[in-house]
Amino acid sequence: MLAQDIALELKSVTKIYKGSVTVGPIDLAVRQGEFFSLLGPSGCGKSTTLRCIAGFETPTSGSILLGGERLDAKPAHRRDLGLVFQNHALFPHLTVAGNVGFGLALRKVGAGEITRRVARTLELVGLAGCGARMPSQLSGGQQQRVALARSLILEPPLLLLDEPLSSLDLKLRQQMRDELRGLQRTLGQTTVFVTHDQTEALAMSDRIAVLSNGRIEQVGTPREIYGAPATRFVANFIGESNTLAATVEGIRDEVATLRLPAGQLLRARLPAGTTRRVGEAVWAIVRPENLTIQPAENSQDDPTRLAGTLDTVSYLGEDIHVRLRVPGLDPLLASMKATRRAEVALAVPKIEIGIDACAVVVLAR
């Protein structure tokens, strides 16, 4: 990453509260024009990190830089950042236009100029002509757009979004997700997005930082985070996964053979550059959609097939989720498209499970 590409940089930012909660040290670099998500469960420190950037919390140590300049030395009202709150935080005593023009009015911009820019920004977020309404007369989605317009009108070098979609219902949330992402791309707006919703983060982000217990677990593109989780936490937090305790039995041509506790074997393709020793205790992580199920055949000699039985089958319309029992292992989860073939395979109680070696992620135990 070239230095001039970096918009926002956090250098070992920590926040220690009087109690036991501690965040950091957090190191992050957000690129110019990037949509960057901070993803994690509640209490993981993502909101604290965002509030440190916005200036509502003072980091205990570390520095925050925007465009190479120290941001943490300035008070919140001098940082010129955009921020959209979870509850929108619109001023109820001002009209939509009053809300959107609030920042410009504080910057002593002329009334005519404010009117023009408010109209243009409202049009940008799809609320043209709504300027005279009061926030209370708008739907949740419209309020969200006003909050967005209120920030965007100031053309901030960095836009912070604090779970802005979580107060909306599902359909609207999906629609706003696409609109927000589209708008961000069009404007090339550098954005930091805080969410606990992995689907949102995967769908919208250029890159994601997964946080847990105040620390960054992994930073990467959605594909990397999902396909190659760096830790057990990431594997379990992002999507579903089966985590199997195993030992490395042998390695040949970058394919490791793993032995499961009950003696079954599992093949895993190791990414180039990974070093695993024979005899090492590892976690083998497999996504449910990478398990294939077939009716059991008499041949037991294929070592990459696990013999098992069906426990529960949940039909979800588009998908089928299956819980499988394999001797010596915790129940495994498998998911597949609800096709005719899948239903035929699931009609027999005794089955065989195939696992693609490329889909197994091996982590140190």
């Binding site: 008070p75 921020l83 935080a89 005593h93 609030f102 504080l106 910057r107």
Partner: protein, 300 residues
């Protein structure tokens, strides 16, 4: 629920007998008390205020405008002006001192609020007479401050007793809780995120107060200010003890006319004028509140 909202409050309570609507039982008893101890006596005061003063029998039922005319005497005009001035200064001082306190209380932790509220409310449990005496002990010519100052060799420099300022100081202390409590309740309803949003958009602390907190807490602030004003212009004890002969307020004049001069018709006329002033201000502040709300709807 259009069907419910069109009905009167109290309809949900099963009323018996059915031909008496529910609200009669809910507000009826208090209404009766109010009529007995407020409306009827007040009507009596209004009637007496247009009767003629009679030294032998308090009043005689001959109609006259003389009691009101007498209020145009420069002395009484001066008293009325002073009363309103003291009320106004007290209200403004209470608002200036009380709003930050109300804000602080509204934003601090539950435990601190309990202690803070206790400290705010506790003085209200002490009678105004005792509190005014307390101020005399503190501010008097031979009071605590002057004696201490003299002991330090600085002399008795404090000569505030028997001035309008002394009355205002005592009144501010007496009235402050009346402003803090409703204002605090109003600020509590303003989410902290609104302050943060304003700050994020470039507003410093003073701008956040001026553009966000004060407009949103205005209803609470206004009702608190009105309470303070009404109490401040109708006090008797405080100006009598703190203001001396030269800083009498309308309350003192009414008291003297009733107790000393026995001129009840004139006392009644002054009381009616005081009530009229309060009602006029109430109407004015309501109208101002509506105008403000309309202005903010247009986009401030």
């Amino acid at each position: 629920m259009p069907a419910l909202s069109s009905s009167l409050p109290g309809e949900a309570i099963a009323a018996y007998p059915p031909w008496i609507p529910g609200w009669v039982w809910l507000i009826g008893p208090y209404l009766l008390v109010l009529i007995g101890v407020l409306v009827l006596p007040l009507a009596n005061v209004a009637a007496i205020s247009v009767f003629t003063h009679d030294p032998r029998a308090f009043w005689s039922a001959r109609l006259t405008g003389a009691n009101y005319a007498r209020l145009l005497d420069p002395y009484y005009v001066q008293v009325l002006v002073r009363t309103l001035r003291i009320g106004l200064i007290t209200t403004v001082a209470c608002a200036a001192l009380g709003f930050p306190v109300a804000y602080w209380l509204a934003r601090c932790s539950r435990r601190v609020v309990t202690i803070g509220l206790f400290l705010i409310v506790m003085p209200m449990m002490v009678s105004t007479v005792i509190r005014s005496f307390g101020w005399m002990v503190l501010l008097g010519r031979t009071g605590v401050i002057n004696v201490a100052s003299e002991a330090l060799g600085l002399g008795r420099w404090l000569t505030i007793m028997n001035t309008e300022a002394a009355v205002v100081i005592a009144l501010v202390q007496i009235c402050l809780p009346l402003l803090v409590l409703p204002t605090m309740a109003a600020i509590e309803k303003v989410p902290v995120s609104l302050e943060e949003a304003a700050s994020n958009l470039g507003a410093g602390a003073i701008t956040v107060f001026r553009r966000v907190l004060i407009p949103l807490a205005a209803p609470g602030l206004a009702s608190g200010a009105l309470l303070v004003f009404v109490v401040a212009i109708s006090v008797v004890v405080t100006p009598a003890l703190m203001g001396g002969r030269s800083n009498r307020m309308l309350g003192n004049e009414i008291y003297d006319q009733v107790i000393t001069a026995m001129n009840w018709p004139f006392a009644s006329a002054m009381a009616i004028v005081l009530i009229a002033v309060v009602l006029a201000l109430l109407g004015l502040s309501l109208a101002a509140g509506r105008a403000l709300a309309r202005r903010s709807v247009r986009g401030a």
